[in-house]
Symmetry: C2
Subunit: 401 residues, 2 copies
């Protein structure tokens, strides 16, 4: 169901077409996150107009509210959201662990993002989730109700939600989990991978296995090798991606060659990553798809993407619209952008809406950031086809060679 | 600049065309409120798609933030908001009084809406506004900074904002102001009306005079007669509209015949009113335009308009989307509606978004309610032209004859 259409000669970057019952996805692709069956501040029509080709919804959130049975009765996620293109769902594992432990919703996947160390069962934090050999038990962050997720239950929920591509149930270890714990968790995750495959009922849903192993080379290699040996339709790289972006790149450099030996022709997803530089670095290392809340979340906080030369690695390719220097700025957010927001509104107007906390700001800002990332991925795909990927990367990330 | 195109034979209802530098407005018309230069949760493009022909922005809010000088430098409200159709601004008087006294933003115009009596300088409430013979001094609800509004200042602010139709500066008395106070305030308001006219500088801006006088017949008649004698381009009925909707109807029955004697051919706006039944009752009594935040505000609180027979006077023509009975309801909000929300989404999905407090809910709900009211006004205009206004009113408000 996945066809590679072009391989970059100088890197592991590649273009492909992933076929699903709701249409084809051109890869590499950025997948906007529709956590609760809506991309925050946008509706399905907006996403169509932005040219999004696929969304990812969250099993954990939808299981809690409105519940997968309701979604199923409404025609699955496609009918419920009125979105007729492909949908991914995650397994619920990540949220079960992060929310179950009462941590921030915006838990990062790289340890350096955390100013305060945390780990499973850390002192002073009420432990809301318990990992057993069967799965994870946790309390709903909405109602306090006890919830159990196991590979079988996760598969059942994802079957009811009806996504085109679903993920195996895994344990997402913390960036600060030690080797011993990560190794132990990996054994469980591998057993759960097989249980997830065994619990699959709907052959139309493609099931991706998840590679774990934290930041430990032998565990990542072992996991890639094991997961690639199972009859998954694709793979996802999940869990802790180390203490820096360099660690994340190393992890991909351990994992992808293993997949290339075993299963070149299956798609590879990177869970929860989506910075501008990440897209280049990880596509170069063989990633086909990304999902990430960041472009939408930073938009809501005033950070709006701009192209180089205004956008640089140093400013993370964003301007902060709250800055007083934009007070009377008649220019669009980004002079190279053709999104609905940039076509109609000035920085001054958006700054006013942001400061006044107007609801319209959140949509206009999200439209811009998602348009920006979706167009960037389109450019990346074209550059791979035209053998100009390295050059494109250089024009964006001049201080990374 | 206002041409009456049809007079209803059985009532004071009429259709007309109000010409402005930014295009013509067909009346009777409903004017969505863009308080801070945005209709909450929508952008200008949304309003264009809904077929809104005119907006009303708030002088008080825009004076405080971002300031009229900034708006002027951005090409006035039209340039700032990227809205090329007509715009009204109010005079700032209403907000100065209501917010100045630290009252709720959603202060009503009819006393029965207030469970707790309040009046100017009521005990226990910190008095933030002081009325002088020159104008009103109050503290910004944002910064605490002292602000002064006078007829001259209001005209200057409205000139800088650049609306097509501006309003005279008036004192908006409370629904609970007594006769003596209302009479005294009216003398001031009438002097301010003349001062507003004298302070007008831009002949392209049409200036409407405001008729006050609370719920007192002699004061309303006197005010209508006085304001109609001045060279205003149109009139607005403002201030306290009594203790019930019947009082409001009576006030219009006192005021409009006076205007009809003096100035049939000038448009008449009713400030801050816009319930479904109000549109019928007030059009019937000779009102040409309405502005009201209610359709958008009630949408944000889950109340969504439905046509008769589901919509009735008793349920105020709304369903509350939070109701459990809509949990798995595949129908659109209103089966007679062709708005973007009803064309794509079910009640079940909207209920989910509402309960999950998703940002997308607020826009989808606002789109529906404004579409509903704008289409209703379109129907009302057509019914006046076809001499079927009374019949149309009856199909909507069967228990009011």
């Amino acid at each position: 169901m996945f066809t590679i259409t072009h391989n970059d000669k100088k890197s592991l970057a590649r273009t492909g077409i992933l076929k699903t019952p709701h249409g084809s996805i051109e890869t590499p692709v950025f997948i906007p996150v529709a956590t609760q069956a809506t991309v925050k501040a946008l509706d399905s029509k907006d996403l169509e107009l932005l040219g999004a080709s696929v969304l990812l919804a969250n099993t954990y959130h939808l299981h809690l509210r409105p519940g997968e049975k309701l979604v199923k009765s409404m025609g699955g996620l496609h009918g419920f959201m009125h979105w007729n293109k492909p949908i991914f769902t995650d397994s619920g594992g990540f949220q079960a662990f992060s929310l179950g432990y009462g941590m921030e919703h915006n838990i990062g996947k790289i340890a350096s993002m955390f100013p305060v160390p945390h780990s499973i069962g850390m002192p002073g934090r009420k432990k809301l989730a318990v990992v057993t050999e069967q799965g994870v038990e946790f309390k709903s962050h909405l109602t306090g109700e006890k919830i159990v997720l196991t590979p079988k239950i996760s598969m059942q929920i994802q079957r009811d939600l009806g996504a085109d591509i679903i993920l195996a149930f895994d344990e997402c270890t913390s960036p600060l989990s030690d080797y011993a714990y990560t190794k132990k968790a990996l054994v469980r995750t591998h057993r759960w991978a097989k249980e997830s495959l065994a619990a699959r009922r709907n052959a139309k849903q493609q099931l991706f296995g998840i590679i774990q192993g934290g930041e430990y080379k032998d565990l990542r290699v072992k996991s890639a090798s094991f997961i690639a040996s199972l009859p998954f339709d694709g793979f996802a790289v999940g869990g802790s991606l180390g203490k820096s972006k360099k660690d994340m790149h190393k992890i991909l450099e351990w994992v992808i060659p293993v997949l290339n030996q075993k299963n070149t022709e299956k798609p590879r997803h990177l869970l929860g990553i989506g910075g501008v530089d990440d897209l280049f670095e990880c596509v170069e290392r063989g990633i086909d798809s990304f999902d990430c809340v960041a472009p939408a979340r930073i938009a809501r906080r005033g950070n709006l993407y701009v192209h180089p030369p205004a956008g640089t690695m140093k400013n993370k390719f964003v301007i902060n619209i709250e800055n007083a220097k934009y007070k009377a700025d008649k220019n669009p957010i980004d002079d190279q952008c053709a999104c609905p927001t940039c076509r109609s509104y000035s920085r001054a107007y958006l700054r006013h809406l942001y400061i006044a906390q107007e609801l319209s700001y959140y949509r206009l800002a999200t439209l811009h950031n998602l348009h920006f990332i979706l167009r960037l991925m389109e450019e990346i795909r074209a550059s791979i086809r035209n053998s100009t990927f390295a050059r494109l990367k250089k024009t964006w990330i001049s201080n990374h060679t």
